[in-house]
Amino acid sequence: MSKTKSKKKISRRKFLKGTGTVLAVATTAAAPPPLEAQRNIVTDPSVPRTTIRVMVNGAERRVEVEDRWTMVELLRDHFELTGTKIGCDRGECGACTVLLDGKPVYSCSNLAVWADGRSIQTVEGLARNGKLDPLQQAFIDHDGPQCGYCTSGQLMSAKGLLSRNPHPTADEVRAGLTGNLCRCSNYNHYVEAVLAAAKGGAR
């Protein structure tokens, strides 16, 4: 649990920086959002719970989670962000990849409580104002998704990669996405798509 504690030490400044929408947060941070009701999950009163505040796709949420919930359970079951998929639930496939403070993580291998005070971006948060992220458009143009089940994870890893390396080589794309399996094995098309998006200035 030491990891949890160290994560909680994150400074407010860093938290705001991580969100990318400083103004909105500054207002809401002053007045915490109301605690969201448990809509979808029958919780067990005997299980330890924690109230967390988390930025999800740019909006701050406050919610009580069971300490045993994984981040992907929180996203899919409570926030109904089902674009994030569960492929293995044990850190092998990357279908559940989201950005945590801008960095790709396996949401199946993080606990929901660890998101407290942090910012999560999911596939639903990629398009802005109805406009697709260039990565999404490149995935469409290059036929990245076949069955589409790994696609959200591939997108989020690619997003994380381009934000730290806007002009990757093909090998760097492969390395950046290697934690995301695709059993349709459309690896060639995914790499082409990321390179094309990078060429077009995506990050």
Partner: protein, 717 residues
């Protein structure tokens, strides 16, 4: 029809549902949530073979939040498609005679991972906790893992009739096919070669694990389940549950891959339906990745003994195969070993033993009997070519099939062109080493080739097209969209036949209450069969428009088609050839693919964008089967050791080479605009091509899949 006359077909077209797939809006079965829905988990056998003396669920039922528990004691549903005499398509006739009936819960249990009980509870954590509270008293029985061992005397009998799976007439006989006389063929040969090849159990490992949501409204059952064929899934489920077909609705909209793993209905569907019925609430059953690996099915492992006779000019005179297929304890498929028919040869004999073992069950996986069979025979023939001092490409050109089974003509024949074009694009003469293993130093390069023919049969399917007054066409087809892009292909076919842009066509799919029968996405036949129905419905609608004019106001025009075309006196096949260059590190045993050229004749290519994806994907999967994938078992206790993505070592971004794809397009006059099969055919030659390239690099024949580092280091030591 000439390609330049086509406005939509043959033009690269992004998927009509690509937006949903890249924004997370696509709803997969696991994304379905119904009010008051319970969560289910399955308790599975920890033993490879055991009788259940007793099962006590009282403590689990007493756990707060647990709603209902099913075991073999309170639920005796036969899962028809789960195990059948002869391993053929389950139907009412087969149902009457089959002796090896598989229930959703069996006693005894016959493999590690077989369902023992299922729990529905208010959330998944409670359901998981309840599994620990179920007390089962097992009488542990002996087990057998390997198909050849299972036929030895004195070994445990998994079924009373023995370990050789019964055929469709309930006889314990191997499957035998013969042409000519192999003994005479060997006598007429100048040289005769014999060898043994084995292939491993590999799992489909589609990204979406099995999941099912069941709900009842009165006596009507609705299942949200990932299936490759909603129509088959519905009729299977209705039959297994003793319900009229119209009382079962199957919804499968977006699907996270299947590769044969999601054909028919599954025990998970039946278990979820029964849990939901008993609990009186919707239920979602989620399987873990490990359960998906050991609880559904994968490709059957094989042992293949070949004997091949050739003349001194390298002409085949006789081929004999004796093969053993490990089916697990239930026969979910034929266990056939395909490949002999790739060769022109007057004398052929194949004897296949589909054998019960206590490993996990075998069933459909992309080209069910071919990748493993083609690996065996094309390795064997490659070896024969070297021993006859021939270039393998020349050997193939001399001996490959020219008519199906040497008698029936193909509707078109392009195999020779596939091989010649591939050899040229690959620069075969430059990359292939006449002396295998001749590279000096630890890094050794080599080139390999293999080829294939794959069925492209015609058949029955249905489609309905409707036109409203706004000029929007709606196609109703019972396809799901496993990944190849069937929905987009159907829209493109309708657009082409109607002479309108794809944007004017929407597709209703994946729901048995809204869509007519479709064959289902198996056997690489959706485009050929359901596509033909779409084209004919469109033509019929066009005729109506010509007669009645465009609909106005609230009017609609609608047309349907139910074609069932047949081929007379011909065989339809897709053809292809794969060329691979590898680099083997003789010190580390590591194999890297340097160059890969895949040439395919799949008839007219409907959508070059998605077709290319399928070729690349199949070839890449084949590399994984050749080099990595295996479900290993502990021989001492029958436990599966490598269930999961990591253990199976699927190819990753970093392993996957660039696959160069070449299409040789043809229109043989059948199928919609000449479409032939594509999805499975890209995997079938890949495994042999890689294995043959490894031989060319190191000069040692790798006879057991997968060709892992330890095996390479072993033969080079």
């Amino acid at each position: 029809m000439r390609i330049d006359q086509l406005k939509t077909i043959g033009h690269a077209t992004p998927r009509i549902d690509a937006l949903e797939r890249v924004t997370g809006k696509a709803k997969y079965s696991g994304d379905v949530r119904l009010p008051g829905m319970l969560y289910a988990r399955v308790l599975r056998s920890p033993h490879p073979h055991a009788r259940l003396r007793s099962i006590d669920v009282s403590k689990a039922l007493a756990l707060p939040g647990v709603k209902t528990i099913l075991t073999h004691e309170n639920s005796q549903v036969v899962w028809g498609a789960g195990g059948i005499s002869g391993g053929q398509q389950y139907n009412d006739e087969i149902k009457k005679i089959t002796k090896h009936r598989r229930y959703i819960f069996n006693n005894p249990v016959r493999f590690v991972g077989e369902p023992v009980a299922a729990v529905a509870a208010v959330n998944r954590h409670v359901a998981e906790e309840a599994l620990w509270l179920i007390q089962v008293d097992y009488e542990v029985l002996g087990f057998v893992l390997e198909p050849e061992d299972a036929l030895r005397p004195g070994v445990v009998q998994i079924w009373p009739e023995g370990n050789l799976s019964l055929n469709a007439q309930n006889q314990a006989q191997p499957q035998v096919t013969r042409r000519g006389n192999v003994e005479q063929g060997f006598n007429a040969s100048d040289q005769v070669f014999e060898d043994r090849y084995t292939t491993a159990f590999v799992h489909n490992a589609q990204m979406e694990p099995r999941v099912c949501v069941a709900t009842w409204e009165g006596d009507k059952l609705t299942l949200y389940t990932p299936t490759q064929g909603i129509s088959n899934c519905r009729s299977d489920t209705a039959r297994d549950l003793g319900m009229p077909v119209e009382k079962v609705q199957i919804v499968s909209q977006y699907m996270g891959g299947g590769f044969g793993n999601k054909n028919q209905n599954q025990d998970a569907d039946l278990i979820t339906a029964m849990l939901s019925k008993q609990a009186g609430a919707p239920v979602k059953l989620e399987m873990s990745r490990k359960e998906d690996f050991i609880g559904v099915h994968g490709r059957w492992p094989t042992v293949q003994y070949y004997k091949v006779g050739v003349t001194k000019d390298g002409v085949l005179k006789s081929i004999q195969l004796r093969g053993y297929s490990g089916m697990g304890p239930y026969r979910k498929n034929t266990g056939a070993i395909g490949g002999i028919d790739l060769y022109q040869c007057p004398n052929i004999e194949s004897t296949i033993y589909p054998v019960y073992t206590n490993k996990t069950v075998s069933g459909n996986f992309r080209g069910p009997e071919y990748p493993q069979g083609f690996y065996g025979i094309e390795s064997m023939m490659d070896d024969v070519a070297y021993k006859m001092k021939m270039d393998p490409v020349d050997f193939i050109l001399k001996n490959m099939t020219r008519k199906s089974r040497d008698e029936v003509p193909y509707t078109n024949y392009s195999l020779e062109e596939c091989i010649r074009r591939g050899a040229e694009a690959f620069e075969w003469k430059k990359r292939w080493h006449p002396q295998p293993g001749s590279d000096k130093g630890p890094i050794k390069r080599g080139a390999g080739v293999s080829f294939m023919a794959f069925r492209s049969a015609l058949g029955r399917s249905n489609a309905v097209i409707r036109l409203d007054a706004k000029g929007q066409y709606t196609v109703f087809v019972g396809v799901t969209d496993v990944g190849p892009g069937a929905k987009t292909t159907m829209a493109m076919l309708a657009a082409e036949a109607l002479g309108v842009p794809v944007s004017k066509v929407s597709v209703v799919w994946g729901d048995t209450d809204r869509c007519p029968y479709s064959v289902g996405e198996s056997g690489s036949r959706t485009t050929i069969q359901t596509g033909q129905a779409v084209v004919e419905a469109a033509q019929s609608l066009k005729k109506q428009i010509a007669e009645k004019g465009l609909p106005k106001g609230q009017d609609i025009l609608a047309a349907s088609a139910s074609p069932n075309p047949t081929l007379e006196g011909k065989v339809r096949a897709a053809f292809g050839a794969h060329f691979v260059e590898v680099e083997v590190d003789a010190e580390l045993g590591r194999v890297r693919v340097l160059k890969y050229v895949a040439v395919h004749d799949s008839g007219r290519i409907m959508n070059p964008l998605t077709a290319t994806s399928q070729i690349k994907g199949g070839a890449t999967m084949g590399i994984g089967m050749a080099l990595h994938e295996d479900l290993l078992y502990d021989r001492r206790n029958g436990q599966p050791l490598t269930a999961g993505f990591y253990g199976a070592r699927l190819l990753t971004h970093r392993d996957a080479p660039e696959i160069e794809t070449i299409f040789i397009e043809s229109d043989d006059g059948y199928g919609p605009y000449g479409a032939k099969s594509i999805g499975e055919s890209s995997k079938v030659p890949a495994v042999a091509a890689v294995a043959n390239a490894v031989f060319n690099a190191i000069g040692r024949r790798m006879k057991d899949l997968p060709i892992t580092r330890d095996k390479i280091l072993g033969v080079l030591a």
